[in-house]
């Protein structure tokens, strides 16, 4: 070793310019921590909020600018890939994160003092003082930064670090719900334990692939694959464990167990952030790993992904039918949607198909992200004595009490169900088409059948809202704060516009996917 250490080290060069969006977000997060440290309590929120929003908007602007510049290369010694998909995903994540932050902003969602034991005197005192953890803003920023780095990382180590940077703040945020705190804390614990478990798998896979290729650089692994040596076992085991870790993050069956619990338990704005941002980021990473690093291995992993996709769709659709809690139901539906997305991942093979599949996935992610954020935003507004009215029975007859809200929620549900003239329909089409083109007709048929099943429980909610009579002393419709109202309207608008005139976004996704992933 000593001989190796003696070798001269030349200083690496880092393209700060290309990484600017991420750096901006992280920098803002750090500044947020400083704000927490040095400003008096009553000022914090009014400082944190602008910092968070502005930094994200700035990052978004930078991303768009880079996209316009056509930046396409691997920055920081090939560790971070700033290519079309990355930029698109960054844009999507930032947009959705901004939207979610608007939700996070109305602070009666979050616990007054996390350290206070639920129901204890100190908690009451903290609430009466109107205390709130403004730390959530830096935490969210860190999480978003991680989400941006995760799909952009071109090297398994960076990917692992990004994974943790993304997850750790989310673990904490999950436990900060103001009401139903036991539930929330449990969600945090389960999410943490399972998440750490999965990342351990990811890491071991990384180790094995490193052992196989002698490098954790995705392209290097690809090269090594081109000349498969004797160490195939390492390769296969590594790919398998790595895949387990990634599938865990996107919540594909049989690794979906954490999703319902976490979605249900954590504060709804955070759920919205996770359901949109994390899914997008994780999918980006999944695609990068499977298409860039393990591209030459597709004959091996395609069948597996077939199975996983089918299982995921079925599990998501079937279990969702039995749910009685709106957030759990949405969680299972997100599992089902993960399955739909996976159908397109299977569509590898000819380059063109890759491009179509990739752009389809990107488009789907955007449409789904907006719809789901909007849906959760609506959920935050249906209040009960004990917080949000989670149980479905409480939603009965909502259509009569406030037709507008119920209508919008129905719109989102229809989008999930993939009814034409909503964004969801084109999303489904965009992922199913390449799958069919790649000969995955069977897969698509399963997808279609399951989405019919899924439609059943979406429709059931609509029936509940519109066709059944309102429950006596039903939940109150909270007067939406500016932020929430904005989120709902924005999401609804996006759902309709993308459902009627998706072309611009499709073009964007296509041009982003055109270059595929930089290698």
């Amino acid at each position: 070793m000593s001989t190796l250490t003696a070798a001269a080290i030349e200083a690496p060069k880092i393209e700060y310019g290309e990484l600017a969006p991420m750096l901006l977000v992280f920098g803002a997060a750090i500044i947020g921590v400083l704000v927490e440290a040095f400003t008096p309590r009553y000022l914090r929120k009014s400082i944190q909020m602008p910092i968070t929003i502005l930094s994200m908007v700035g990052a978004l602007a930078l991303t768009i600018w880079q996209g316009a510049q056509g930046v396409r290369n691997a920055a920081a010694m090939g560790a971070v890939a700033v290519d079309g998909p990355s930029l698109f995903i960054w844009g999507a994540i930032l947009l959705l994160a901004i939207v979610s932050v608007l939700l996070i902003n109305d602070d009666d969602q979050f616990v007054a003092q996390a350290a206070a034991v639920p129901g204890s005197a100190e908690e009451d005192q903290a609430i009466s003082e109107g205390g709130a953890h403004t730390e959530i803003y830096p935490l969210v920023l860190f999480a978003v930064g991680g989400m941006m780095l995760f799909p952009a990382s071109n090297d398994l180590l960076i990917m692992f670090v990004a994974l943790e940077v993304m997850s750790l703040p989310l673990y904490l945020l999950c436990g900060l719900a103001r009401r139903r705190r036991l539930l929330s804390q449990e969600a945090a614990m389960k999410y943490f334990l399972l998440g750490a478990f999965s990342s351990a798998f990811f890491l071991y896979g990384t180790a094995l692939l490193y052992g196989f290729a002698g490098s954790v650089d995705l392209s290097a692994i690809d090269k090594a694959l081109a000349t498969v040596g004797g160490q195939d076992t390492l390769l296969y085991m590594g790919a398998a464990t790595l895949g387990v870790g990634l599938l865990f993050k996107i919540g594909a069956a049989p690794f979906q167990a954490w999703k319902p619990d976490v979605y249900q338990g954590s504060p709804t704005p955070i759920t919205a952030l996770m359901a949109s941002g994390t899914l997008i980021a994780a999918f980006g990473a999944l695609l990068r790993v499977f298409w860039v690093a393990l591209g030459n291995l597709d004959t091996q992993w395609t069948p597996v992904l077939w199975g996983v996709a089918i299982l995921t769709m079925i599990v998501g659709a079937v279990l969702a039918i039995t749910q009685t809690d709106i957030k759990r139901m949405l969680a299972y539906s997100s599992i089902a949607h993960t399955g739909f997305l996976l159908t397109a991942v299977v569509a590898t093979g000819k380059e063109a198909q890759n491009v179509n599949a990739l752009s389809g996935i990107l488009f789907y992610l955007v449409t789904y992200g907006f719809a789901t954020v909007g849906a959760f935003a609506v959920v935050t507004m249906i209040r009960d004595a004990g917080g949000e009215a989670g149980h479905l029975s409480r939603w009965a007859g909502l259509g009569k009490r406030s037709p507008a809200l119920a209508g919008i929620f129905a719109l989102f549900l229809l989008a999930f169900a993939g009814i034409p003239l909503t964004s969801g329909f084109f999303g489904k089409y965009a992922v199913f088409a390449p799958a069919v083109a790649a000969g995955g007709v069977g897969l698509v048929i399963v997808g279609v059948v399951t989405s019919a099943m899924a439609a059943f429980f979406y429709v059931r909610v609509i029936v509940l809202m519109f066709f059944s009579d309102p429950a006596p002393e039903g939940p109150t419709i909270a007067l939406p704060s500016m932020g929430t109202a904005a989120v709902v309207t924005l999401a609804a608008a996006a759902t309709v516009v993308l459902g009627v005139f998706p072309q611009p976004v499709l073009d964007l996704a296509h041009s982003a996917a055109q270059s595929l992933f930089v290698r």
Partner: protein
Amino acid sequence: MPWLSILMGVPVVGALAVAAVPKGSDKLAKQLTLGVSLVVLVLTLAMAAQFDRSGARYQFSEVHDWIPSFGVHYAVAVDGIALVLIALAVVLVPIVVLASWHDADRPEAKRSVKTYFALILVLEAMMIGVFAATDVFLFYVFFEAMLIPMYFMIGSYGGAQRSYAAVKFLLYSLFGGLLMLVAVIALYAIAAKGTFLQPELLGAIKDPTTQKWLFLGFFIAFAVKAPVWPFHTWLPDAAAQAPAGAAVLLVGVLDKVGTYGMLRFCLELFPDAAKFFTPLILTLSVIGIVYGAIVAIGQTDMKRLIAYTSISHFGFITMGVFAMSADAGAGATLYMVNHGFSTGALFLLAGFLINRRGSQYIADYGGVQKVAPVLAGTFLVAGLSSLSLPGLSTFVSEFLVLIGTFENYVVPAVIALSGMVLAAVYILWMYQRMMGGPVQESVKALPDLNLREKFVVAPLIALLVVFGFFPKPLLDVVNPAVHQTLTTVHAPQFTPAIPVTAEKKGAGQ
């Protein structure tokens, strides 16, 4: 000028306007709806007047890119078939609006009235669109999107079992539609034409097996939509639970989309597969004819009864579509229109009865013809049209269908004949049970049709009679289109002599 776009645009704008009507002033909403629908009717007639029956097949066509990256266009045009079906729709809508004037505002369940009428208008726009679409994808979009307004109309304005019926309706159609989606995608992928324009896709699929699969994908969707025998179970529930107006639109127009789709897509896009599956489909439709009729006889609920009659009628239509002969095709098309009118009339009258008596069970009626002769009379006429009495328009179409089928397939035609007999049984028996016989206590005070209702029924009866004696204008519009359809299927050609004779026969009775 872009007639079809205007035709679709007007109801949409109208719907928005109606939705914007302030609460409380429901009357205004209704009047507005009626006005809009009448405007659409006028426009359609204006357009139809300009339709050149000897001209190009597709007229008034507009093609704009919608989603280039999917090869999807906003492409609309009409040939004869589409034209008459659009006409059917736009004729029925104002009638339905007028008929369901008070359906929506039942005080006990406080539903918003204007929404109901807005939905009707939205539905009208979509019905026009679905018939006018010449882009497969666009057709699919309308095909699926149509479900939503109908779903809400049934679900929130229907009878006791409404939400069950609505969900069943939606899920059946959705399932069929999604299978069709797979077929659509596959069609696009395999044809590799980079476009969804139906004319360009003609003959794009060569491989017979592929054709068969795609055909099935489309056919099942259409079979669910136009309830062909095994896929029919949703219809009686939906039709029985829907408010009369919605039921009319559902059975009268929406279901026609299925048979229309078979004619327009199944036959033209996959001719070989169509030929291959013809025996199967004929069997199904014959079963449908007989089964529908027999079950109808056993019904105690008049709306369900009417629903089953239409299942039987749809059997005739599909049979006509797949008989692959010119006049069968023409007859089927004609049948779609006439069935719309006759069943529409039946449903509306049944609706009136139910509104009066508050029950849809046949057993609750009796001797109505004594207290409400006009009502009973119109009901009889409608019923007779439904059993296709010569002299009423349905007879022409049914006759054409049977003749056309005879030319190619004798046995099914013969069996189908029994359908006519059974039809006589269920209609007349129902009439006898309800209208004839001693006057029941409950119907003593049954008022006769009021002016509004007369206005509703009159045009329908008129149309039935007129087209019964003089179907030529319809046939002249329809025939060329049917011919071209059949030429694409390479089916044996026939000179359009028969319709005239048919007309004579019709007159002769």
